[in-house]
Symmetry: C2
Subunit: 338 residues, 2 copies
């Protein structure tokens, strides 16, 4: 969801004065985070997210129906799993709404898509429990809904960062965007790696790591950076009412960018704005940084900067100069659309 | 979801042997009912449903953006509320995934759609807690996800009907289908009533009544008949492994059909196959029929027949002859598609 979309739904909710209803219904955190948090029992909160993927907007079909269906199925699930991980929760259940044109229904596209989504989800211990299938006039659409759980009160919002908190990111950045968009492949999902091997383009959401961060209360705020580091860090700052300072030199550039011979500035740009990485970005109180550092064995973990009091401003320190970093990631609508 | 879609997902789940995963994740009832039932606490089960509405399949746009957006918003929510009611549960939370083409985004279509969905849901005490908004190349799509709750173990499945159970239906039948499809209007949503007044085409889901049926354990099986009585009764029989015998003379035909001067056979056909009614059909043990009859004050309630042991066969008794009633309701794919 882009800033414009956030604003729209927030303003609608405010204009309709729904706060009393939210409170009555046990809504802990609603629109404006990776997922909604619902209070349902004394021990656990439920976390739920929905992600709509649309043909020719979020993916293209290459004509290889088997590959297309299978990758779309996995990708749809991965996007939602990543949202649940970004709340510090454990995913448990999946629902899929799938719209497909008649000609693809007839060739078994839906069966392949659902079966790949189902197996992929099962690999994370997540059960497909429902969904809907509809015909569409033309394009494929997939809405992926994942429910998760987290110990009561431990969901990690985007809004808890405080000045002085350390900013961490998992994994490596820019590789997915390079593979998907900049390697001059025809489409994101048939991409060969730069060394000729087939590179698996399904993002690996940080399901296990996210739930550890949540259950151990290690982070003050967390977000997944599927839209790109610059966009998603801006979201986190906005929701937390803070700013941030990021060290360009500390960004964990994907080794693939170097191997492909990219200029440093292009690599940096992909890492900052490319998106598609499905890594987690989170903020940590200085006194909790030690506990976070101990998780390095589980995942590549990099401290990339610090939260500042400069509300809404993200600064990138590069070659000893600090410049304002504008969101350059993917947005469906709005000025920065690609 | 049509029979073909059920079969697809069921066979996929079986081929992947996911039963152990389902059990581990507390899945009480999954694909193949109006909604999935999830065990989350000692007191309550969570019920969740998702419904995908697609432009030119489930609705058409007339060009009056304000009316279109507002009716689609309400209708999407109503469809899902009806599914939750059909499980005997109380709806609590709503998520909406909306895909719209750029030109409609620019004219505020999304704002109107979301705001009408939000107010409509709030009227049932349901809070919008999240969603996703995406661009589409051409058509509007809306996926409506509603979560509800029911006392543990009291969700009413489609699968509990036994021979000898009495079959009841709420409200009146055939009126919605007449208004939407057969009144030779250009589209379902700008339909004037036969007496010239504007007829509200948003179905009124039986939210309150459904939750009473669930919490008082009055029904052995329940389904909403949005696809049409003949189709949905067939679904219920199939899931329960039973048959049914329906008295044509006892069907509660919508008075609008008579006022419009329809032939008796056409009116009957609309009531049986028309769909769009969003009423509830449920089965009751003979010894519980008295308790159900006491609810007549709340809603028009009609006993239309009886469950039989004739597995998978629905018979319609009309002019003293019993004939086989084939499903004629709306299905997205398959033989009976309209």
């Amino acid at each position: 969801m882009s800033d414009g979309e956030f604003d729209l739904i927030k303003s609608l909710r405010e204009s309709l004065s729904l706060r009393r209803l939210d409170a009555a219904q046990g809504l802990v955190k609603g629109v404006g985070d990776d997922a909604a948090v619902l209070r349902q029992s004394a021990e656990l909160d439920t976390v739920i997210t929905t992600d709509l993927l649309v043909e020719d907007i979020d993916f293209k079909l290459t004509g290889d129906e088997e590959t297309d269906a299978s990758l779309i199925g996995r990708r749809a699930v991965a996007v939602s799993l990543s949202d649940i991980a970004a709340m510090g929760a454990r995913p448990r259940w999946l629902l899929l709404s799938v719209g497909i044109p008649r000609k693809l229904w007839e060739c078994g596209f839906a069966r392949t898509l659902l079966s790949s989504a189902l197996s992929y989800a099962a690999g994370f211990g997540v059960a497909l429990v429902g969904g809907d299938i509809s015909r569409t006039p033309e394009h494929v659409v997939v809405d992926s809904i994942v429910l998760g759980e987290v110990e009561r009160g431990r969901a990690v919002p985007r809004s808890g960062a405080k000045p002085g908190d350390q900013i961490y990111v998992t994994g490596f950045l820019g590789g997915a965007a390079y593979t998907l968009r900049d390697a001059e492949r025809q489409s994101w999902h048939a991409a060969d790696g730069p060394e000729g091997g087939l590179r698996e383009p399904t993002p690996q959401p940080r399901v296990e790591f996210g739930s550890i961060i949540g259950s151990r209360r290690l982070a003050t705020a967390m977000i997944d950076i599927s839209d790109g580091l610059s966009s998603d860090l801006a979201h986190l700052c906005r929701e937390s009412g803070v700013g941030a300072r990021v060290e360009a030199a500390s960004l964990p550039l994907d080794p693939v960018l170097n191997r492909a011979g990219l200029k440093k500035s292009d690599a940096l740009s992909l890492a900052l704005h490319g998106g598609e990485d499905f890594e987690l970005l989170f903020t940590v109180r200085p006194r909790r940084a030690n506990a976070v550092e101990k998780l390095r064995g589980q995942v590549n973990l990099t401290r990339i900067g610090e939260v500042t009091a400069e509300r809404g401003k993200v600064r990138l320190v590069h070659n000893k100069r600090a410049r304002l970093l504008r969101p350059g990631g993917f947005e469906h609508f709005g000025r920065d659309e690609k």
